[in-house]
């Protein structure tokens, strides 16, 4: 057994209505302690109203070396941005 506590990723929701945002990571023996540590490490300056913690090893990430095939094809498809519509004046600011 490793003597190191597992790593957790911390997500904080700053204000009601906004999404949780990744703010960093920390070590803790379990989820409950991870929340406590997150409270102490990441919300000292009134940053949050809600905390999520996720075991880092539960996150599946895209592979950096496959960045080209993953993301390049969408670069040339500007028509996927909804910028080609004429918006009627009555709609106002969108």
């Amino acid at each position: 057994m490793s003597s190191e506590w597992p790593l957790w990723e911390v997500f904080i929701r700053g204000q009601h209505g906004l999404n949780h945002r990744h703010v960093g990571s920390l070590h803790a023996p379990d989820a409950e302690m991870a929340i406590r540590h997150a409270r102490d490490v990441y919300t000292r300056r009134n940053e949050g109203v809600s905390i999520w913690v996720v075991p880092s090893n539960q996150i599946t990430a895209s592979v950096p070396s496959e960045k080209g095939p993953m993301f390049d094809p969408s670069k040339s498809k500007i028509y996927r941005h909804p910028t080609f519509y004429d918006i009627p004046d009555e709609v106002g600011h969108m």
Binding site: H27, A28, E32, R36, H37, D40, V41, R44
Partner: protein, 250 residues
């Protein structure tokens, strides 16, 4: 000195001395996350100190500020419980001291915030109570985890309990100051806090698989200015700068 000034000093000196003790861990805690948690606790306590000693200075009416009271009094002027000046020892001893104090401190602040007839006392208690609630939650959790943890953590927590136990009785001792304030409805009779403390501490220690020591000796004197040898060393570190450089500013 009025009973109310004495009371404010007792509350403020508890949080000042414990806050300083806890701050000694800064940069030394077993893991970074605990280091920050301890520093937060220390800062909460120092913040509460500013309110209590500020009140003491105002009521005293000699123009002394909270800083004057923190930095320019000597050992015999301090009114804190002996428990809070006990050395940090290992991490377990520090946490046990915190828990035994929190289990008294939080109910005390709750009582003051709900019942004190002195408006400023009740105001300060309301602000401090939220912080103390978290301190108690945190120390309770860690006492249970470490008490009911590995063989080594269990042994260390049981040792820590024995180390501090005879310093807990002082929290419930009453003198003329306490009786005057209890009669006036400003503060509770200290002895009245004991059944709740016994029940809470008993429950947590049972869950932590720790045995309540069978030792009823009570070390006391701190609230009257009679301290252990440790307080002088704390003050030497804490007061050196403002005493050596009285006009220092940053």
């Amino acid at each position: 000195m009025s009973a109310l000034v004495e009371f404010a000093l007792r509350m403020g000196d508890n949080t000042l001395v414990l806050g300083h003790r806890v701050s000694e861990w800064c940069g030394h805690a077993p893991v970074l996350e605990e280091d920050i948690a301890l520093a937060n606790t220390a800062l909460d306590l120092i913040g509460q100190t500013q309110m209590w000693l500020g009140l003491a200075g105002d009521l005293e009416g000699k123009g002394r500020t909270a800083d004057d009271l923190a930095y320019k009094r000597d050992v015999w002027d301090f009114r804190n419980l002996l428990l809070v000046e006990r050395p940090n020892g290992d991490f377990g001893q520090t946490l046990m001291r915190q828990f035994l104090f929190d289990a008294w401190h939080h109910p005390m602040l709750t009582w003051l915030s709900e019942n004190s007839k002195h408006e400023r006392v009740a105001d300060i208690a309301r602000k401090a109570e939220r912080e103390a609630a978290y301190h108690l939650e945190r120390s309770t959790d860690l006492i249970i985890r470490l008490g009911d943890g590995t063989d080594e953590s269990h042994r260390r927590m049981q040792d820590a309990l024995a180390y501090h136990w005879t310093y807990t009785g002082e929290m419930f001792e009453a003198d003329a100051v306490d009786r005057e304030l209890a009669d006036a409805g400003v503060a509770p009779d200290p002895a009245a806090m004991k059944p709740g403390w016994d029940a809470l501490v008993g429950d947590v220690l049972a869950e932590a698989t720790l045995e309540v020591p069978d030792n009823h000796f009570v070390h006391k004197g701190g609230r009257k200015g009679q301290h252990t040898e440790h307080l002088g060393h704390i003050l030497a570190a804490m007061q050196f700068l403002p005493r050596a450089y009285p006009d220092a500013r940053w």
